[in-house]
Symmetry: C2
Subunit: 266 residues, 2 copies
């Protein structure tokens, strides 16, 4: 089985670093600095797919990490989410059509099981683009809002921003993925949005002399796997350990439901 994660958010929010951190690699090196520098701001939104393999508790897990560079980077971002929602719809449609094909001729299933939406850590509200895009995405895929570069917010700002984000999502009727207890089916206490700090596979030494993955500032080390610093560990567990199957199954449900709704409508 392959688990497909998509990251959406404007450039510079650490999405590339995040996937490297998740996979504990430098698999997707940040674009060569000089290349990136010469690159014009992309006028279109592209879809980048990386296939990786992760070993988790002894078994191999194939992961597709999908990025959408160019999203939200233009002066006019009207419908910037269209290439992304089109991609998702295509994958769902293709999967449904493939179901009637003989096993060996089926193409790779690239349906997105979890879509991490990266929010700018402004400390304020969400931007209109974020709201519009998350709304469109949540109708098609499991959306998990993530606070990018959470080391930008101090403890109070983070708490306020989380609370505010939840209120805005509610107010706009955006149904994000809410993990449930796998036995009881009861909603787990909401951690969203998940705050993340990214550092790839780079280790540094913190004030206690421990070797940790994190960002080394002159005033200290913001640690990726310190649960007081950010929710990276919680998010990683959710995605790759506890709720991966649930994410895959609920994607399946959404896909079938949408297909039959569209089918009946046509």
């Amino acid at each position: 089985a392959t688990f497909t994660i998509m990251m959406v958010g404007e450039s510079g929010l650490g999405k590339t670093t995040f996937i490297n951190t998740l996979l504990a690699t430098n698999l997707k090196p940040k674009t060569d600095d000089h290349l990136r520098h010469q690159q014009e701001a992309r006028k279109t939104v592209e879809i980048d797919i990386i296939r990786a393999e992760v070993e988790e508790k002894g078994f191999k897990l194939r992961i597709n990490a999908i990025d959408a560079p160019g999203f939200g980077d233009n002066v006019d971002n009207n419908e910037a989410w269209l290439p992304i929602t089109n991609f998702i719809d295509d994958q769902n449609e293709q999967y449904m059509l493939q179901q009637s094909q003989p096993e060996r001729s089926r193409t790779t299933d690239m349906r997105v099981h979890a879509c991490l939406y990266f929010l700018r850590p402004t400390g304020h509200q969400l931007k209109p683009l974020d709201i519009e895009c998350m709304k469109a995405l949540s109708e098609r895929v499991n959306v998990i809002p993530v606070i990018a570069k959470a080391d930008t917010l101090d403890k109070d700002e983070l708490a306020l921003f989380k609370e505010r984000t939840r209120e805005i999502l509610d107010a706009n009727n955006i149904k994000v993925y809410e993990p449930r207890d796998l036995q009881t089916g009861q909603l787990l206490e909401s951690q969203l949005p998940y705050s993340v700090i990214g550092a790839g596979d780079r280790e540094v030494t913190n004030a206690l002399g421990e070797k940790v993955r994190g960002r080394q500032y002159l005033w200290g080390v913001a640690e990726v796997e310190n649960e007081n610093h950010c929710d990276f560990k919680k998010l990683r567990n959710l995605l790759i350990r506890t709720h991966m199957l649930d994410l895959i199954e609920s994607t399946h449900e959404k896909c079938y439901r949408k297909f039959y709704t569209d089918f009946k409508a046509s």
Copy 2:
């Protein structure tokens, strides 16, 4: 005399906090959280003016701090800088027309002496909107690019981002304000863009037990006035001590020059 500083940049970059830090006050309290929360993303760009007084080496200095909330916050930000450049042009024009009026009936001179352009600390290149806007602004006013929330970047990322920003400004022919030695007229070694960390007048205790203005994280304190942490002190000195007069005079020159160019053209 009044010194007028304008801050331009999208919301959440710490512009309000910056002016509080500069004036060492809480003069412009961040909008009440609940008010801000209820506020729709503004569809238009507004111009907010705050008048303040600062005591500098015994003499009183009147400062106008101008903010442009709503800039760059929409999905479509085409020409988002227009209300700002219009404001600047109006002030310049008004000043020139006032010169022919008797002294006592003159209105307040609100010409912008320094326009701080706040850049998102993405670590990547500048966004198209930043380039377009700085280009339009630099033709009319002294533009000083500033790296907002510089505590988001570690030492290497900061150095790279500064270098990259300078190259992009060059490549796009954007003439920003370059301070010169006041005696020799020689260009001073470029510090731009200036990295800033803001904390209003809030003091916290750092790892050495010192009381400093800064942002308190679980992993340490990012200090506003520590020159290893950011360029706030350098920028403050430039604006309020060493180069204030130069900024006022060069604004004067630009204003006259533009007026006569437009006058001759009409």
